[in-house]
């Protein structure tokens, strides 16, 4: 009985809110700063990246959603000697790491009282990291799938009910998988948000 009542209240809540804000869809430009093991491989920040987000309000503060993105890290490693056992190989290396995080998210938004509307979020899902090394005329590459999480904080800058800009920082972390150590990076997102 209690459950039915709760469900009813929730339903009423959602439908009444849906007129004001139902869902949001955002597109973000992403700047990636590699950390930890990722920065051991490539220690150069990259502006090649974007993130799509879709979020649905389940109450005035909380959204559930999905996000998917893509970032490219790149570095030219000057001529160096790589030694393994008795073998040594030297030359210039071109390194690439393409990441595809796909996460389920939950966000908490402050109510829209002023222009700024801060939020905090958490995501869990998977991250595909595609690593590629070019050396001489040779190339090796491999894709690794890892369990990934991200905490995120940021703010919407919302001049009207239907549209906003977003500035957010997330710490994206992939957990160690079979053949790749844990990956991590700081992701700065600048986006445009459509609120329906």
């Amino acid at each position: 009985m209690k459950n039915i009542l709760l469900t009813f209240i929730l339903l009423v809540g959602i439908t009444s809110l849906s007129k004001a804000q139902n869902s949001l869809f955002s597109f973000n430009y992403a700047v990636t700063v590699p950390m930890g093991n990722t920065s051991d491989f490539i220690d150069q920040a990259s502006g090649r990246g974007f993130v799509f987000e879709y979020q649905k309000f389940i109450n005035p503060h909380v959204t559930l959603g999905l996000e998917a993105g893509h970032t490219t890290l790149y570095k030219r490693e000057d001529e160096k000697v790589y030694t393994e056992g008795t073998a040594s190989l030297s030359g210039v290396q071109y390194r690439y790491q393409y990441s595809w995080p796909i996460l389920a998210t939950v966000n908490y938004y402050a109510l829209r009282t002023e222009l700024f509307r801060p939020y905090a979020g958490f995501g869990i899902g998977t991250m595909a990291s595609h690593r590629k090394i070019d050396m001489g005329i040779f190339s090796s590459d491999k894709t690794h799938w890892q369990l990934a999480i991200k905490p995120e904080i940021g703010t919407l800058i919302q001049p009207n009910p239907n549209m906003a800009f977003r500035i957010g920082i997330k710490y994206l972390m992939g957990f160690e998988s079979n053949d790749l150590a844990g990956q991590s990076n700081l992701n700065f997102n600048f986006g445009i948000v459509f609120i329906n």
């Binding site: 090649r48 490219t72 790149y74 073998a87 040594s88 050396m135 001489g136 005329i137």
Partner: protein, 215 residues
Amino acid sequence: MMRKIYQLLFSVLIASSILACKPDGAEYVDELDIVYTNYDAGFDFQSKGTYAIPDNVIKITDQFIDFNPGDEPEYVDQVYAVTILNSIKSNMDGLGYRQVDPSANPDLILLPSVTQTDQVFFYYDWWYWNWFYPGWGPGWGWYYPGYYPPQVSRVRTGTLMIQMTSPNDLDATDKIPVVWTGVINGLLEGNTNSISKRVNDSINQSFSQSPYLKK
């Protein structure tokens, strides 16, 4: 509904333009030069003092050949051979080895060979060297003690292989140990001067990344 479609289209457009700006790779041929070295960790280079080297660099044209004694294989153009041989000699001398005639019982014998190949390592018949290597006869050959050069694939390039052999350490089956191998690989692009310079730089690199050769 139309608005949502516009929003989506807008985002996809920007995303695809970001994806389109992929980072670059190598721009100059010398960035594609790589140097591979490997050696027998159990070999005592310090105890060796002399080496011999031919005055020609052989050109590998086929995997297997059927030479008669006295036949000679194809040689690399002297323009490049001189660069290769001088570079190897100056590195060996710099490390403290002394060049002697092949008939003077050298501790080490170096065999430089060149091929246009699609592999970093190539196999070739030891008979290529019968015209030079002292004492070689039927049933001889070489082997790699404890390691093996890699076989990787693709793209037509030039490869120079330097084999350092130890003629006085024959094993029970009359095989000669190749105690050090240097493999230099790069694209065959550019004029004589620039290729010579790259070859020289790469040979220097092969010795400098092999500090265990120093006496």
